[in-house]
């Protein structure tokens, strides 16, 4: 009997260790998801005196100024009380736990393509971080009724939910790249021009936008030779995402420098190569908003 008992205890201990290992693996994966998402740096208000991921960063957009929220596991001011279902719904459907719709400045429009495993791993990782008590901007806590209606209406009209669907005709690397670019890394949110309604103009996917967040210009990522990155090699793309250095030796600044430093540069090289493979395969789209290239600048000199 005693032997049986100790055997049971040993088995229970083994199972617990296995579960902990599974948790560890999930947390490691979650960290990788966060990095592939550019470190979620829009939630870090370092310049405004906030800490990592505790929100409050002002995001200037053509549709007004929005403030990011606290996504540390603080139960009062962060997401500490969120269930897995709450988190999945926010990420993939753009709805807060209380049911109100987020403005699409939070890119649930891209995250909807993420796998449940990646979303839950991200939550598991976020919940290992130190909770930071920092109140959300009043507009997030109690946004005016009209605003909520506007966000809900926008979501109803323009949001296309749905997980990423691999293209069987393409290589696994291409599909991995397509998944990362369109869903996790949410490149299109800045690098695809928007229509007057604020929805992404998917007919000009990744063709760049002069109205990027914080007033920045987001370059054309399609292989158009004049206005895009058609002269970049795949090696250039991987190097850029690891080092923030352009093929001509110049640096990158602003939000892109941040998402590289806190995210993309930590990604596995195979993932970055997958992104390069996908980007190089895109149809080139000319974007005359971004037509001023080095050639033109040389002529001006």
């Amino acid at each position: 009997m005693r032997a049986l008992c100790s055997a049971a205890v040993a088995i229970a201990a083994l199972l617990a260790t296995a579960a902990a290992r599974a948790d560890d693996a999930q947390i490691v994966r979650g960290r990788a998801v966060l990095e592939a998402a550019g470190g979620c740096t829009c939630h870090s208000d370092m310049k405004g005196g906030g800490g990592p991921l505790s929100g409050g960063r002002a995001m200037k957009t053509p549709f007004g100024v929005f403030y990011s929220t606290n996504i540390t596991p603080d139960p009062e001011t962060g997401i500490g009380r969120w269930s897995d279902a709450d988190f999945v719904r926010a990420m993939r459907e753009g709805l807060a736990p209380d049911g109100h719709a987020y403005f699409p400045v939070f890119p649930y429009t891209s995250f909807t393509g993420m796998s449940d495993d990646d979303v839950l791993a991200l939550k598991a990782y976020l919940f290992t971080l130190p909770p930071v008590q920092r109140e959300n901007h009043p507009l997030n806590v109690m946004s005016p009724f009209q605003w909520r209606i506007a966000a809900a209406t926008w979501r109803w009209m323009f949001f296309e939910p749905g997980r990423f669907v691999p293209d069987a005709a393409q290589t696994p690397a291409w599909n991995r790249g397509a998944y990362l670019v369109s869903a996790v890394a949410h490149c299109g949110e800045c690098h695809t021009p928007r229509t007057l309604t604020g929805a992404l103009d998917r007919s000009r996917w990744l063709a760049g936008s002069k109205d990027g967040p914080e007033g920045e210009l987001a370059p054309n990522l399609t292989p158009d030779k004049d206005t895009g990155i058609g002269l970049w090699t795949k090696t250039d793309m991987v190097w850029f995402l690891q080092n923030g250095q352009l093929p001509n030796g110049d640096d990158t600044e602003g939000l892109m420098a941040e998402v590289i430093e806190h995210g993309y540069e930590h990604m596995p090289e195979a993932d970055l190569q997958a992104i390069a493979e996908y980007l190089a395969s895109l149809p080139p789209v000319r974007n005359d908003d971004l037509a001023r290239d080095d050639r033109e600048r040389d002529q001006a000199q």
């Binding site: 190097w239 080092n243 250095q245 030796g249 110049d250 640096d251 600044e253 001023r292």
Partner: protein, 168 residues
């Protein structure tokens, strides 16, 4: 007409006033030419810096068999870095330039950024001597951050380059 009027008012011979007028027009012309040259030199100096940065990166990212060449490029960067301060002494903000007026409005901050660039390029030149690609890569990235550290405040953002029409 103006010269003659000045001559009448002041009693200085009109010919002298006219001569002075021509001289000042000539020096204004010289100044404009110097501005133009200062601006072009600044840009060609930055092209040299970018060229060496890109050459080192190309050797590293493609694993080219020129690791020994990196030292030459790194020495070039360290030497060019020392020319930046003088290149920006003359204030030229008009014309086809990406330089922000802040360079001359916050000279201490600008000097600090340039100093950081000098320091990191000197380190890069030192590290390049040993010829370890991994170590060079790390320092190249640190050097690149000092480019961005200065450009962030003192170079016009890329949205400005694109908004600008081709001929300005």
């Amino acid at each position: 007409m103006h010269s003659i009027w000045i001559a009448l008012k002041t009693g200085i011979p009109a010919s002298l006033v006219i001569a002075l007028g021509i001289a000042s027009a000539a020096s204004a012309q010289d100044a404009a030419k110097m501005d133009e040259g200062a601006l072009k030199y600044r840009q060609s100096l930055m092209e040299s810096v970018g060229g060496d940065m890109a050459s080192i990166a190309n050797i590293l990212k493609y694993g080219l068999p020129f690791v020994g060449n990196i030292s030459v490029h790194a020495d070039g960067l360290a030497s060019h870095a020392k020319l930046v301060t003088a290149a920006f002494e003359r204030k030229v903000t008009a014309g086809p330039t990406d330089a922000e007026p802040a360079i001359w409005e916050k000279p201490d901050e600008f000097a600090k950024r340039v100093k950081a660039f000098e320091t990191e390029t000197a380190k890069l030149a030192e590290i390049a001597k040993a010829g370890d690609p991994a170590a060079i890569g790390v320092q190249l990235k640190a050097t690149g951050k000092t480019c961005g550290g200065c450009h962030e405040s003192f170079r016009k953002p890329k949205e400005e380059w694109f908004k600008r029409s081709g001929g300005d």
